[in-house]
Amino acid sequence: MIEMEGIEKTYGNGSLATRVLKGITFRIEAGEYVAIMGTSGTGKSTLMNILGCLDKPTGGHYRLDGTDMVSLDDDALAHLRNHKIGFVFQQFHLLDRTTALKNVLLPLIYTDHYPADAEERAQSALAAVGLSDRIHYKPSELSGGQQQRVAIARALITNPEILLADEPTGNLDRRSGLEILAIFKRLHRDGRTILVVTHDQAVAEHADRVIVLKEGTVAEDRNVAQPRDAEEETQALADEEKTR
């Protein structure tokens, strides 16, 4: 469960100070699928960094499962990121010259107890994103969509409660993007909390709820009446391509 209460973030100080977040308050229950929307410059990335415990707010409280992360030190935040949050980035951020399997195993290096069945877990995580046959491929041998799927498998390997995705389809074509969103939908159905930060209305509409940022404040927080279904759309796209 995520509770944000009056979150503020100011960069610099004195006359040069820039207030990027001006008191953000919302609450996300476990198992929700939420899109955080906003055009660039609205503090979207800043909020995403705070949500991911990569950065601390300058004001307000952020409680993750009841723990206020504002009071935690750097090591504790690293620990929190490791086992509570799975990151998916726009640029995938896979280690090059490293196989998909090794990439997926990466977060386990930083766990306190390395699981004995790590390899099997990584393999099944890759299988879950449809990459069983690409386990030993390096990023340079994979398509963008496949790379992002490796990144999702990596995000899930520590079995985090929250999947935090930053423009996950930003570098992908429409079809690969839909495949990624279909995976998110499936994960959501399995009970995982999904947070997608995006500027893209079409991507946001796949979520159950949309929080819109404007100039550092929450401008809108609404439920999506009829979320789009990525699986259906992928199918439709395939049919369309067939008839063409």
Binding site: N49, G52, L54, D55, D74, D75, A78, H79, R81, N82, H83, F87, F89, Q91, H93, L95, R97, T98, K102, L106, P107, I109, Y110, T111, D112, Y114, R154, T158
Partner: protein
């Protein structure tokens, strides 16, 4: 263990970037290889020096007739060194154990039956045996009665035995030196070859009186060997002898000496030559190349931290602490220097073996350079690895991922 997993990450990252790793290693490899070879050569030289000194005698001073700098046999026809010089040294210089004058002549013809060979003939006093710690293994040594009676007796080296008498025992046999008949009294202990390649065993010794009167027909001697009681007195005693001979021979420097004095210290200095200084200089150079290698390593690591900013940010996002990142980069630099050190030591070892085969340098390979290399590599790896590792650890994950 988390630490081991992170160290493994460092090693894996090196393996994934082989070219970069090689460049990081190059300095260490060259430095350690050079150090290994140079130390081996230095060790070899020192061993040779010690052999020379030991064969010369650590307590010995040698006075040679005729001037000159080289440690060479006296020139023929120099008559300045006399028995009473030896007597003067014996009576006027303190701290001396043995004074043993002798006359030497090389390439004299020795005959026994139909066999004829060339050998060195030394006319010596009985205490020659003690002065050189060189005794007869068979039969008897030169004795005082032999001196008094000018006896025609000879003690011969093993090469002479082999070449003149073969397997048969030479004792009591007759030997002709310059057509004078001598009775073989004993056989000298074998000493092998000198560091200069002379055969020590191709020589015979006869009583000094017999040698001067009957064989060489001269009343001068060629050498005086002096044995001091205490090696620390070696240099002052050598100086005293030089002064005494100056007086006796009426020489006032800068007039040139008509004799030369060598002590074990000078032999060591000569044998070492410039190689001692050179070894030191080259070791310093090798050490310098290690430091340069370290700087190169640090630079590449710093560049690599810059290039891998995103990777560092990613690792931080996935749960790596600052310490984890620091540890990974330090592991990388330590692994590089450690592997580089092993490769360098191997290379140096191989070069040492090759040098031993192909040159007269005779390097001695030992564990010391390896131990030094390990210490040096770890030092360099830590010294030049900490800064890049710290820089990597200090990166803020948000900045790094941007």
């Amino acid at each position: 263990m988390r630490v081991l997993r992170i160290a493994a990450e460092g090693a894996r990252s090196l393996g994934a970037n082989k070219l970069r790793t090689f460049f990081m290693m190059a300095g260490t490899i060259v430095g350690i290889a050079a150090l290994t070879v140079i130390m081996a050569i230095g060790e070899g030289t020192e061993k040779r020096v010690m052999k020379r000194v030991t064969s010369f005698g650590t307590h010995a001073i040698m006075v040679t007739a005729g001037g000159g700098k080289g440690f060479s046999p006296p020139q023929e026809g120099i008559t300045t060194l006399r028995l009473d010089d030896a007597e003067a040294i014996r009576t006027q210089v303190s701290g001396i154990g043995i004074v043993s004058p002798f006359a030497i002549r090389r390439g004299m013809s020795l005959k026994a039956g139909a066999q004829q060979i060339q050998a060195t003939v030394m006319a010596v006093e009985p205490d020659w045996h003690d002065a050189w710690e060189w005794y007869a293994t068979e039969g008897d040594p030169i004795a005082s009665e032999d001196m008094a009676t000018m006896a025609r007796v000879v003690v011969i080296g093993t090469t002479v035995v082999r070449e003149l008498f073969g397997q048969q025992s030479p004792r009591g046999e007759t030997l002709q030196i310059a057509n004078i008949r001598f009775r073989v009294k004993g056989v000298l202990e074998s000493r092998g070859t000198s560091p200069m390649g002379d055969d020590f065993d191709r020589r015979v010794i006869i009583p000094l009186t017999t040698g001067l009167r009957r064989v060489f027909n001269q009343d001068h001697i060629t050498n005086i060997r002096v044995k001091v009681r205490n090696t620390r007195q070696l240099v002052p005693i050598a100086d005293q002898i030089r002064q005494l001979l100056h007086e006796r021979h009426h020489i006032t420097p800068p007039q040139e000496d008509d004799f030369a004095i060598f002590s074990a210290a000078e032999v060591a200095k000569m044998a070492r030559g410039i190689s001692g200084t050179l070894t030191l200089l080259l070791s310093a150079l090798a050490g310098l190349s290690l430091i340069v290698g370290g700087v190169v390593l640090m630079n590449i690591l710093l560049i690599s931290v810059g290039e891998r900013t995103k990777e560092i940010g990613l690792r931080r996002a996935l749960g790596a602490t600052r310490r984890d990142v620091f540890l990974q980069f330090l592991t990388e630099s330590l692994t590089v220097t450690f592997v580089g050190m092993l490769a360098g030591a191997g290379l140096g070892w191989a070069a040492g073996i090759a040098l031993a085969r192909l040159t007269p340098l005779s390097p001695v390979l030992s564990w010391q350079p390896l131990a030094l290399a390990v210490a040096f590599a770890l030092l360099v790896g830590t010294l030049f690895g900490v800064q890049p590792a710290r820089r990597a650890a200090r990166l803020h994950p948000v900045e790094a991922l941007r």
